[in-house]
C-alpha cells in the first residue's frame, strides 16, 4: 500500500489508529501490538500477498538467530561461538537478498564473462527486502554486541514490520524503537504528537504528489529519449531527477515519521537539507542518514575504519560506497555511482588531510554539480544513456534556445545556437524552467521538514497551511505513482 493512496489515507490509517488506541485504552497492550503487526502485514501484503511468507520466514529466522546469540552471551558454555552464529545469520540474510536482488545480475555477468548460456530467472524483487534485511542484520550485530536482547517474538515482529518504516526505511536499530513501544506514555493518545504527525505527513504528501511527481514527468521523458536531448533539455532532465529523487524520498520519510508520530513513535530523521551540503562528506551526513549510519557502523568500522593508516582508510571508504551503490540495485550503473561517490569521499579526505580550504560558495557549487551528475548514473538504464545525457549537457549536441531569443542571438544562428522548441523531448513547457528555479529555492533557502517539525505549534496559520497542502496533494493524487526507493 502506498502512503499517497486514498485507501491508506482514508481507510487504513484511521482504522489502524483507532483500533490500536482503543485496545490500549482497554489495557490490552499485547493485543494492541498484535493488531499493529497484523495491520503492518496487511499493509505489506496489499502489494502482493505471495511475499508475505518470505518476510515472516525472514523474521522468524532472524529472531531465532538473534535470541540464540543473546542466550549464548548469557550462558557462557557454548559448542558454537556467538561469532559463528552471527556469521551464519548475516550470510543467510545476504544470501536471501542476493537471490532476490542479484541473481539475474550474477547470471547475466557470468554469461558475458565465461560464455555460459544460463537463462535469466526474472525474479521479482519483493518490496522492502533491502530495508528489512539491513534492519535485521543490524539487529543481529547489536545482539552479538550485547546491546539488545529480544526474547519476545511479537515485539521483534513489530520492530521489523511496523508499517511506517517497513518499505523504504528509515533503517532502524531495535534499541531506538522498542523502548518506545514499551513506554507507558506511548499507549495513550497524545494530541500534540498527532497534530505534529498530521503536519509532517501533509508536508511529505505534498512533496511527493505535487513536487516530486511534477519533476518526474520531465525526468522520465528525458531519460527515455537521451539521444535526442539538447543542452537545456539535458540539464533540465538531470536537475529534474535530482529534485524528484530528493522530494520523493524525503517526502516518503516525512510521511513515515508523521505516521509513526501519531502512534507516539519517533523514527530517526533521514534527511537534513542534503543539497545544501558543501562537500561530499557533508552530503552523506545529510542524505539517507540511517543508511549512512548503517554502512558506517556495520561495514566501515568492522573493516577497520580509520584505525589502520591512511591507505587502508581510503580503501575502507571506497569499499563502503561500492557496497552502498550495490545495495541500491543489481546494476553496473549503481556500482559506477557508488565508485564515483567513493572516489569523491577519498579525494575529499585527502584534501582535508592536506589542510586545504575552499570558498564555501564554490564548494557548494562543485558538490551540488557532482551530486547532480552522479545521479545520472544512478537513474540511467545503461552506460550509453548516461553518456548521451552527459554529452548533451556538455553542449556537444548543440544549443537550442527558445524562439524569443532569436532577436538577441540571431547572428549565431546555425553556427553555435539554434532556435526552436526547447523542451520538446522532455514534454516540458516554459514553466519547466520556473519549476527548476523553484526547486533550487526550496532546497537551498527553505527550512526542511525536520526544522519545521521542531518549531511546530498548533496555530491557525499552521492549520490553514496543513489543510491547504493536504488538499492540494489529495486533489492531485489521481496520478498515483510509486516511491522511487521502493525499487531498491
Amino acid at each position: 500500500m502506498l502512503f499517497n493512496s486514498y485507501e491508506f489515507i482514508f481507510l487504513f490509517l484511521p482504522v489502524t489508529f483507532f483500533v490500536y488506541f482503543w485496545l490500549n485504552k482497554k489495557r490490552l497492550t499485547q493485543a494492541s501490538k498484535a493488531w499493529l503487526v497484523f495491520a503492518s502485514l496487511f499493509f505489506y501484503s496489499w502489494w502482493n500477498i505471495i511475499y508475505l511468507p518470505l518476510i515472516l520466514g525472514s523474521i522468524l529466522f532472524n529472531f531465532a538467530v538473534g535470541s540464540t546469540i543473546s542466550k549464548m552471551n548469557i550462558v557462557q558454555k557454548k559448542r558454537i561461538s556467538p561469532k559463528v552464529m552471527l556469521a551464519f545469520g548475516i550470510v543467510s540474510n545476504i544470501l536471501l537478498l542476493g537471490y532476490f536482488k542479484y541473481m539475474d545480475f550474477f547470471i547475466a555477468n557470468t554469461n558475458m564473462l565465461i560464455g555460459t548460456q544460463w537463462d535469466l530467472m526474472h525474479i521479482i524483487l519483493p518490496l522492502g527486502i533491502s530495508f528489512f534485511t539491513f534492519t535485521q542484520i543490524a539487529y543481529l550485530v547489536d545482539a552479538y554486541r550485547n546491546e539488545v536482547k529480544e526474547m519476545d517474538y511479537l515485539n521483534y515482529t513489530l520492530f521489523v514490520t511496523f508499517f511506517p518504516h517497513l518499505l523504504a526505511g528509515p533503517i532502524l536499530h531495535h534499541k531506538e524503537m522498542m523502548p518506545q513501544f514499551d513506554s507507558i506514555k506511548s499507549k495513550a493518545i497524545n494530541y500534540r504528537n498527532i497534530a505534529a504527525g498530521l503536519f509532517l505527513f501533509s508536508i511529505g504528501l505534498f512533496k511527493k504528489v505535487v513536487i516530486a511527481d511534477t519533476f518526474a514527468q520531465w525526468a522520465n521523458a528525458g531519460f527515455e529519449t537521451t539521444q535526442a536531448l539538447n543542452l537545456i533539455e539535458a540539464w533540465a532532465t538531470s536537475l529534474s531527477y535530482t529534485f524528484q529523487l530528493y522530494f520523493d524520498f524525503s517526502g516518503y520519510t516525512d510521511m513515515a515519521l508523521g505516521v509513526a508520530l501519531m502512534f507516539n513513535i519517533r523514527l530517526p530523521i533521514n534527511f537534513n537539507s542534503p543539497y545544501k551540503a558543501r562537500n561530499i562528506q557533508d552530503f552523506w551526513r545529510r542524505w539517507h542518514i540511517t543508511l549512512s549510519r548503517f554502512l558506517r557502523d556495520y561495514i566501515y568500522i568492522p573493516l577497520g575504519g580509520n584505525r589502520n593508516g591512511e591507505f587502508k582508510t581510503y580503501a575502507n571508504l571506497f569499499t563502503v560506497f561500492l557496497v552502498g551503490g550495490l545495495w541500491h540495485g543489481a546494476s553496473w550503473m549503481f556500482i559506477i555511482w557508488g565508485a564515483l561517490h567513493g572516489t569523491a569521499i577519498v579525494l575529499h579526505r585527502a584534501w582535508q588531510q592536506m589542510g586545504l580550504k575552499m570558498n564555501s560558495i564554490l564548494a557548494w557549487f562543485i558538490t551540488f554539480n557532482f551530486i547532480n551528475i552522479t545521479w545520472i548514473f544512478f537513474r540511467a538504464k545503461d552506460w550509453d544513456a548516461a553518456k548521451n545525457i552527459l554529452s548533451a549537457m556538455s553542449g556537444i549536441n548543440g544549443i537550442l534556445l527558445p524562439e524569443k531569443y532569436a532577436k538577441y542571438f540571431g547572428d549565431f544562428n546555425n553556427t553555435l545556437i539554434q532556435f526552436g522548441s526547447v523542451y520538446e523531448h522532455i514534454n516540458g513547457k516554459a514553466q519547466t524552467t520556473v519549476y527548476i528555479i523553484l526547486g533550487f529555492i526550496m532546497v537551498l533557502t527553505l527550512k526542511n521538514s525536520m526544522q519545521l517539525w521542531d518549531s511546530f505549534k498548533p496555530t491557525r496559520l499552521n492549520l490553514v497551511f496543513t489543510i491547504a497542502i493536504f488538499l492540494t496533494a489529495v486533489s492531485m493524487m489521481s496520478r498515483v505513482s510509486e516511491f522511487l526507493y521502493f525499487n531498491f
Binding site: Y6, A195, H425, R460
Partner: protein
Amino acid sequence: MNFYILIFNPQSPKAWIRRGIISLIVIISVLFSFNYIIDPYNMTNYNLFNIQYKFARDDRTEKLNYFKNLSRFDNIIIGSSRVYSINPRKVSELIGGTTYNFGVGTATVEDHLGILLYLEKQNKLPKNLIIGIDFYTFNPNVPPNSYFLNNKELNFLSYSTYNVNEYWPKFLSFDATRASAKTLKNHLFPNPNEKPRFDSLGWGLSYMDNHLRNMEEEKRLTLQEIHQNKPMLYSNYQYTHIDIKRIHYYQQIQNLCQKHRIKLYVFTTPLHPWLFKELDSHTSTQNAMQELTKYFSTFENFTNFYNDSEFTNNIYNFNGATHTTAKAGDLILKKVLEKPKP
C-alpha cells in the same frame, strides 16, 4: 496584535486536530458533491441539470443521447476518433441513403460490437456498416475505454466495474473541479461562439479544413504527439500479438452483418507517415500490424491504408499525428466505397 494572536497564538492540539479534520471533511464533501453532480467527465451517466455540453465531453453518451431521437439510418460509420473526419454526407452521396457517424474516442473492438448490439436492440441496424479499425484496437494490453465500461447501454461485457483507483479519485481531483466549474459556467452562461463538437450526423466539426494551417507548427506538434503517445504505444502496452478475444468479437460482428444482411466495409485507419515509421521500427508492432492486416484481408470489402503510400505519405492528409483531415476523409471514403479491395 489581534491579528498576530489570531494567526500565531497556539491552540490546544486537540482543538487544532478537531478543527482540521472537520474543515477537511466539509471541504472534501463539498468538492466531491460538486464534481459528482456536475460530472464533467460524464462518469455517472446521470445528468441532474440536463447539461448539454460538458467540459470533458464523452462521445458515447453524447452520441447515444442524440441518436435516441433520430430514426433509423441506412449507413453507419463506426470507429474511434480517427473516423470523426469521415463525412456522412459524402457516404450518402457515394452509396445513397442516410448516414450517421458513430465514431467514439479511443474505441476498441468492444465499442464496435457494443454499438452494433445496441443498434440491433433498438431495431436501428443499417444496411451498410463502415468500420475504421486502428492499429492499437487489437492490442490485448489496451483495455476497453473506461467510458465504454461505464456505459450501461453499450457495455455488453460481463464486467462493468471500473478501477476504483481511477474512478473515485476523479471526483476529488483538481482537474475535475476545474472542469466542473467550467462546465457549470458554460451551462449557465452559454457562449454563442462555441460550436458543438459534432454536427447532427455525428461528423467531427473540428476536423473541417477551414483554418489556415501553419505546417511548421503542425510538424512540431505532430512530433510531440508521437513522442507523448510513445509510452502508451510501446512501453506500457507492449503490442506483441493481436488479441484473439477481439478477433472473436469481430466474428460476432461478421455474423450479425450476415444475419441482418448488412454490407460490411472495413478499413485500417491511415497512419501518419512519421507514426507509421515509429511503429514499423519495432519488430513486435510490425508483426502485430502484419498479423492484423492478414486477418482482415479475408474480409470481402477490406481496404488497407497501411500499404497505401500515396495516401499516407502526404502529411497534408493529416491533422497532427493521429487524425486525418476532412478532405482526406473524402479520399478515404472513395477508396473504401468505390474500389473495395479484397
